[in-house]
């Protein structure tokens, strides 16, 4: 897969001495959905703003679609659409005017039919002649997405797309993002909602305190770091784990009522063997529950381990 965005040793430090990014290397593949995950202040927005031209990197290079973002900024930027985190919109303009403005600003000739279709996709068509200040927060967020897509970009940055957004809009947003990917748009989103990354992303990067800590295929990440647990609720409590069961990673919980079997992401599960052995030992199981650790657990572990 060719890299559509290539970030090479990018650092950013401010006059105050604060290092927002520390030699970040990252390649985004064409057509993927990449989630940049990290706590507040980790450097997610700084990284996006550098790629988009809003912040100047202290060192390092970035290319978008093969174009250097500084030397060939015009070609690079024309490929990129950005939905920033803050809701910054004009107040007095109409939806139609502001979206058309964005298209022109990014160097594309007017195309009323395309804008109409875009507003339709974002459920904004009936608001086309409304002034932006009369819209709700969710609608304004849609307007900002429409602005970012107005010039038909190949790359879309969504900076915290669902922060403070209601469930309906969140689902719409996910639908939209998947639709865009089918059309070949590469999507990079930042989030601190793990659920979002888990739901949407193909690959996940974790950033903390300006350092990119890992980049991994989502499924691989889940497999590698995820733990599965099988909890067996017992009929009668056990005082201790029988000798015959030493080869399984078992724990007794709830005063001997629960037997918890933990499986690492890479291990294969031999639950049938365990059940067989238990029945041989006449341990009666009342109920069984399996649980897979979420990206959130993985993330919390990762961030707390390495800092």
């Amino acid at each position: 897969m060719p890299a559509v965005i290539s970030i090479n040793e990018v650092s950013k430090s401010y006059a105050t001495g604060f290092e927002a990014l520390k030699r970040v290397d990252l390649a985004i593949e064409k057509g993927e959905i990449f989630a940049l995950l990290g706590p507040n202040g980790a450097g997610k927005t700084t990284l996006i703003n550098i790629v988009c031209g809003i912040v100047t990197a202290s060192s390092g290079t970035v290319t978008a679609g093969g174009h250097d973002i500084v030397r060939e900024y015009r070609a690079a930027r024309s490929l990129i659409g950005l939905v920033p985190q803050e809701l910054s919109t004009d107040a007095f303009e109409t939806v139609w005017a502001t979206v058309s403005f964005s298209r022109g600003l990014f160097g594309r000739p007017p195309d009323a039919k395309f804008i109409e279709g875009l507003l339709q996709d974002l459920s904004l068509l009936d608001k086309r002649d409304s002034k932006i200040m009369t819209l709700s927060g969710g609608m304004k967020r849609r307007v900002m997405i429409a602005k970012a897509l107005s010039h038909e970009p190949q790359i879309l940055f969504l900076d915290e797309p669902t922060a403070g957004v209601d469930v309906e809009l969140r689902r719409d947003m996910w639908k939209l993002v998947r639709g865009l990917r089918e059309k070949g748009v590469t999507i990079i989103l930042t989030t601190h909602y793990i659920e979002e990354a888990e739901e949407m992303a193909d690959r996940i990067g974790v950033i903390n305190k300006g350092t990119l800590m890992l980049v991994e295929d989502k499924k691989e990440l889940m497999k590698k770091l995820g733990k599965r647990q099988v909890t067996l609720h017992l009929q009668t409590p056990l005082q201790q784990i029988p000798q015959q069961l030493q080869s399984w990673a078992l724990e007794l919980k709830s005063e001997g009522m629960d037997l918890v079997y933990t499986v690492d992401g890479t291990d294969s599960v031999d639950i049938s063997m365990l059940l067989k052995r238990l029945s041989e030992l006449s341990i009666i199981i009342k109920d069984l529950q399996t649980q897979q650790s979420s990206l959130e657990d993985i993330f919390v572990n990762l961030v707390s381990e390495r800092t």
Binding site: I54, H67, S78, F101, G107, R108
Partner: protein, 262 residues
């Protein structure tokens, strides 16, 4: 639905989008943009032209009412260019919508052409409206119409560019009116908008020659009535010099990202 990268040399769609956006802003506030300056100018005529002017000796062979017309147009041009251009770039900074401009494939020169062009267009239109209004009060001759238009355009471009710089420098709405109120308005009033500096005592006259506004007003008045306080060539040089200084400042701003980028 994706488009290839653009490789054009000049982003005309981008310039046009900004220009139209800025002009639309003026049309939304048409009353403030046009009626207010016309009323203000008419008041100047009533006070200076009719009430006081009739008692003053005529300067350079024209009635005092007619004499102040170029100065009044210049005064309006200065203030309107400054406020329009400074507000135009300050407002997106204030609302945060500047992110879009900074991430767009537009060059600094294109940004300046669009914002300064729009602000200058508005103040030129206003200058012409004031000229038309004035012609209702006093008879006006224009001896050198080409030079008149040239001075009008250059001054509008100059002060719009200066206003653009103020807009980028400003960190609050107070800053926006700070330089126009504290520097430009006094310099204009002392710069011969309402009198010829030949009427001043010699010491004050010499002092006035350090005021750049004197040269702008004098040159503009010359294009109307053929008489000037300073040589026209000097006026022209001063205008171009001021433009060069502003351009250099803008180039530096964009090169360093001063108050635009981190």
């Amino acid at each position: 639905m994706t488009q290839p990268a653009i490789r054009i040399g000049f982003n005309r769609h981008g310039v046009w989008a900004i220009y139209r956006f800025e002009m639309a802003r003026a049309l939304r506030t048409l009353v403030q943009s046009l009626i207010t300056p016309v009323i203000t100018t008419s008041l100047y005529f009533v006070v200076f032209g009719a009430a006081i002017g009739s008692r003053l000796s005529t300067a350079s062979g024209v009635s005092y009412g007619a004499f102040i017309v170029p100065g009044l147009i210049m005064l309006a041009l200065f203030t309107e260019s400054l406020s329009n251009a400074s507000f135009g770039i300050y407002f997106p900074k204030w609302t945060g919508t500047i992110y879009e401009l900074l991430s767009a494939p537009v060059s600094y020169i294109e940004i300046v052409i669009a914002y300064v062009g729009a602000a200058a267009s508005k103040s030129v239109a206003l200058g012409l409206i004031i000229l038309a209004t004035a012609s209702l009060f006093v008879p006006i001759r224009i001896l050198h119409p080409v030079w008149m238009v040239a001075f009008l355009l250059m001054t509008a471009a100059n002060f719009s560019l200066f206003g653009f710089i103020i807009g980028i420098w400003a960190k609050s709405f107070e800053h926006l009116s700070f330089i126009p109120m504290l520097v430009i308005t006094p310099l204009t009033f002392l710069g011969g908008a309402f009198y010829s500096i030949d009427m001043l005592p010699p010491a004050w006259r010499t002092f006035s020659l350090f005021n750049p506004i004197v040269y702008l007003i004098s040159g503009f008045r010359w294009s109307f009535y053929g008489a000037s306080d300073v040589r026209v060539g000097t006026s022209l040089l001063m205008t171009l010099g001021f433009f060069a200084v502003c351009l250099a400042l803008v180039a530096w701003i964009f090169k360093t990202g001063y108050r635009l980028k981190n």
